[in-house]
């Protein structure tokens, strides 16, 4: 973008922000409006990083992330909301759990809250189950080396944010047969080639007989003590026919909070009691 146009866009964009919070903490935007000049274009001959190389680095970055996590404790909140697009969306179920994970084989979940708008006859009908292991396949399923053949990739854009260069990479399943894999876009922080956000795109329903469509599905990560971990999974879907006592559409979300990472979990936490 030529610099004048860039500045115009910048001024237009920044004006409301200045008006709203002139004294807010953090970086402040400065605008040079007394000097007008043009910067000549520079032909850069250095080879650009190829998409394949970026994908390799993402796979390595995600693997490195997984290997750095020795033990993780977090609070997970799962919610289901019915009729989300109506005037009166209703909370249908909520589960809050504290989850302790260590290594690849230890996991313990403590249920903190278990609430249902309509308590089921059979207790625990809707529940959260966490498996052991600190990998987050739900985030990087399309970027694992074994999945490379199953997807097409292309770079949608690059965003420079401070000293972070963020690549937006779109992916779509190669196969059109059977239950389709989702496509989507990931935001990759090239500082350590970690996926920091993902938006999934289901062009076709995975189960047309039951699910009319998945309108939107988003996976967000957050940085905690230097580690990128799940922040939220959130999805809206619509059934083909209304489900009794539930409705036609629903939102489901799992929020991850209150992380404690690599602070050491005593193995006694995973010692099973002997049943009397």
């Amino acid at each position: 973008m030529p610099l004048p146009a860039f500045l115009i866009a910048l001024v237009l964009a920044a004006a409301p922000a200045f008006a709203a919070s002139p004294t807010s903490p953090g970086p402040t935007l400065a605008i040079e409006d007394t000097m007008h000049t043009e910067v000549p274009e520079v032909l850069v001959r250095a080879p650009r990083v190829t998409l394949d190389e970026i994908l390799d680095r993402v796979a390595r970055g995600e693997a490195r992330r997984d290997s750095m996590l020795k033990d993780v404790v977090f609070t997970a909140t799962m919610r289901v909301v019915r009729d989300p697009a109506s005037d009166k969306p209703k909370l249908f179920a909520e589960r809050v759990s504290r989850v302790y994970r260590k290594g690849e084989d230890k996991v313990r979940t403590v249920t903190l809250r278990h609430w249902d708008a309509r308590p089921p006859k059979k207790r625990g009908e809707v529940d959260m189950n966490f498996t052991a292991g600190n990998g987050e396949e739900i985030v990087n399923f399309a970027f694992q080396p074994k999945a490379r053949k199953n997807f097409r990739y292309h770079i949608v854009g690059r965003d420079l944010l401070g000293d972070h260069l963020i690549y937006r990479i779109a992916f779509e399943p190669r196969s059109l047969l059977g239950m389709p894999d989702p496509g989507g876009i990931v935001w990759v922080d090239t500082r350590d080639f970690i996926i920091v956000r993902q938006e999934l795109d289901f062009t076709r329903s995975p189960t047309p007989l039951i699910i009319k469509g998945i309108d939107r599905a988003i996976i967000e990560r957050q940085e905690v003590d230097g580690y990128w971990v799940l922040k939220r999974l959130i999805m809206r879907a619509t059934f083909t026919v209304p489900i009794p006592r539930f409705g036609r559409a629903f939102d489901i979300a799992v929020q991850f909070d209150d992380y404690r990472i690599n602070q050491g979990i005593d193995d006694a936490m995973f010692t099973k009691a002997v049943k009397p």
């Binding site: 809250r113 059977g178 047309p208």
Partner: protein, 443 residues
Amino acid sequence: MSARAWLCVAVMVAAFAPAQLPAQEGAPADTSLHRFLGQLADSTDRYFGLIDAPVDTAGLDSALAAGLEKPWYGPRSRRRVSYGPVTGFQRVDGALFGASLGVNSRVGRWSVRGDLARTSRSHDWLGGGALAIGTRLRDVSWRLRASGGRRTEGLDRDNSERRVAALRALLSGDDTRNYLRRDGYSVGIDADGAEWHAGLEFRDRLESPLPVTTLWNLFHRPPEATGNLAATFGRTREIAFNAALRLPLLPLRAQITQAFADQALGSNFDYRRSRVVVGGEITAFRHLSFVPQFAWGRLSGDPVPQASFYLGGPQTLRSLHTESMGGTGLAVARLDVIGADDLLALLHLPHPAMFPIQGGAFVATGAAWGPDPFGGPGSPASGWPERNAWLSEAGLSLLYHPGVPDEDGYFRANYAWPLGPGGGREARWSVSYSRALDLLRPF
């Protein structure tokens, strides 16, 4: 403010901040990234609304303390019990009614299943049990399995279609599959990697022919088949090896199956049965799938019907009735073209969202050769068919992918026209339920 505008702001902040904001040293170095992600998250919040309301944390600390104080007996029950009816219908047993019961671990490491059913016309009890134990070592999943029982099975061991065949038989008598009784057991081990599969199995089964007992159907149509090709009675002990591989650099998979029955194993039969399949999917314009498949099979040794190859039906040549030809050799090549879009939506025809109908077309050619299990003159048992043995066809399909109970299953209605010479064949409809890559066994 658009995302692009925010990007401009972020760029300028990043450029000027170090020089002009020395007082912000205490702020995190990557505030711009977090603020950017925060903006995207805010947009998500606005879309989803209620579900993102803050969690009420009241009482959670005390619930945690209480939860940690209680004795912990390990993760919640890892077993899942499943049960259901067993039903079936074909002309050798009549109707089949029974029940199944299974227990398996939630993560699929082990499973135990059993079923028992009574046949209405042959007045027999059929059923059996199966046990499987699995584990994962590095990137390879291993599975040890054993099963046994008394069952009626299809004579064509490559034809896995059961449900729709039973429905066709019940409604209109349109079932030309042949059946035999198997009593015995098998044990096997499987290994699955990301791009490959390998399996080894030992089978010890008494195989016996079955007479026809049931010729009625609900619509009182004359049944397509009134007989049942008799299996050769005897004990089969065989070792079977199967392997599948995703071919490098090509969007194709290859699968090879070898079965050896030998008198040295105590088998009454002595044969070697080989089958090779190559198939895959090539997409075009993001709306079309080209699905080429090729299968070749060869049986050497005793040409028993229960080990022979069969031609005809939705999984081979759709212009032929199922299992209408057979031999000790089989070759089939088929190309399906399947559209990904909903035909009814493209035609602006109102229809329920649960019924997206896809369109398809196909061309195929195939041949069966060698000694004829139906007692015909047959042809020389060589590795490749004679030129005049090939039959060809072309056709159109309507496909429906429900997504359940099999994630890759399609209901298909096919209309196939015979091409070239082929002994008085006529264009015909067929209905099936199978995967798009139906010559390849799933792995």
